[in-house]
Symmetry: C2
Amino acid sequence: MARDPVASADMSRPQKRNSSSDTSTKSPKRRRLRKISANGRGNIRESNEVRLLQAAETVFAERGFSGATTAEIAARAKLPKANLHYYFRTKAELYRAVLANMLELWLSELDRFTAERDPSEVVAEYISAKLNWSRRRPNASKVFANEILHGAPFLKSYLARDLRQRVEDKAGVVRHWIDQGKMRPLDPKHFVFQLWAVTQHYADFEVQVRAVLGRRRLTEADFADAAANITQLILQGALISPRPSGRAHK
Amino acid sequence: MARDPVASADMSRPQKRNSSSDTSTKSPKRRRLRKISANGRGNIRESNEVRLLQAAETVFAERGFSGATTAEIAARAKLPKANLHYYFRTKAELYRAVLANMLELWLSELDRFTAERDPSEVVAEYISAKLNWSRRRPNASKVFANEILHGAPFLKSYLARDLRQRVEDKAGVVRHWIDQGKMRPLDPKHFVFQLWAVTQHYADFEVQVRAVLGRRRLTEADFADAAANITQLILQGALISPRPSGRAHK
DNA sequence: GGAGAACTTGACCATTTGGTCAGATCGTCG
DNA sequence: CGACGATCTGACCAAATGGTCAAGTTCTCC
């Protein structure tokens, strides 16, 4: 129950004109205040919003923002189209909600990058976690990829503010590890890009991966292979395993 | 809009132009037979097709297949829309042309993977080459990425045939290198995925990269940094540099 | 029990958009 | 020069689609 992802949708409620000015959400008009009778049960709104969000994630992933139709989303959610527009006034608002819904999850994955921890452990964990997202929620990744691919009309400010800051911070941690001789001297930001690239690839380019591997679907084993390969590549390529010779470790 | 653009060859659209005058010479799949007067100069058709293809690449990259409008493409090519449809009967046909136009270039880059050559040299070259494509023709990469992202409706067969076979072949080469102790024992296909992922990332996720790096545009220096990072990561992570002492690694 | 909010939905509508057409105009070659 | 195909293009059109409405139906709570 809890895990209400809709919470983040808050910011997308009072949506209005869009285009590229996303931060301007001033909420000029409070949406119908939801009664939400304390009744712990049967919150119709929540139930329907979740269904719509899930359907939307799938459709947006498959068709992109322009290619997706509210009719198809509604159909997939098994609701009449007019009902979809009752919960989400516009396609853009629904799209925003889907994005917000996912960013919340992603951003936090970088939290484990802290100077005190051991980089090889952190990196291995991160790869595993991101790869898991690619496996469990490929559509979320695809919607995000599609958004970025087309110039991030809705996420420009998110990228420039939150994400940039976050990476800036974590780059500091990586730099610290480098200074400590735990990592090779590489550019921290590019290192992060590389991590993102290889892990998200399995969701975004899933069709290609499947075609090349000759699979009808990517199996758990395929992801295990991917994880093993990526981990080895990154750990060997970017980390410096504590050698008996040099300075102490841990 | 057409539900499924895949329709491999939906040229069934009867042009109903007339009933005979066209010599009914549908001989080769080729459309209207181009006179191509030996006139070495001013081949109008070619000139216009090129302009349309370039405009289309840009628009498809920015908007995706569904989001792109033939009107915008035509405008960008500075031609009336009807003229666009004179050269490319449908949006799908134009889109196909854009894709084909690029695959031709990409597929060949893998040619350098031959057993005789030194892997570290080959890989470094490949990374550099792919990264160059990302820099010089980001739109081509984006159109491709978008196509794959949405299930490769137009490229399914290409992926399953040509690409798969090509990777299969090159995987053999990588395996050979591994057997020779020149590379670490990794999965060859996943290794290729990793190469693609990190290099194309700079074209497909350009906006994100720019945002995080705080650049208005990615500079040559940025790509140099990327190349250095990727090369180090991959070479250190996947190759085994000839050690004076025994080959014992690990 | 019933007032009013929350929710539902079929019917509509204004735009957008891919694609067509028929009548010009241009270019080339015998 | 004249024929004829290649090229050009403004005007259209039918289908698709985002979004609106107003008339219901269901819930909640006093």
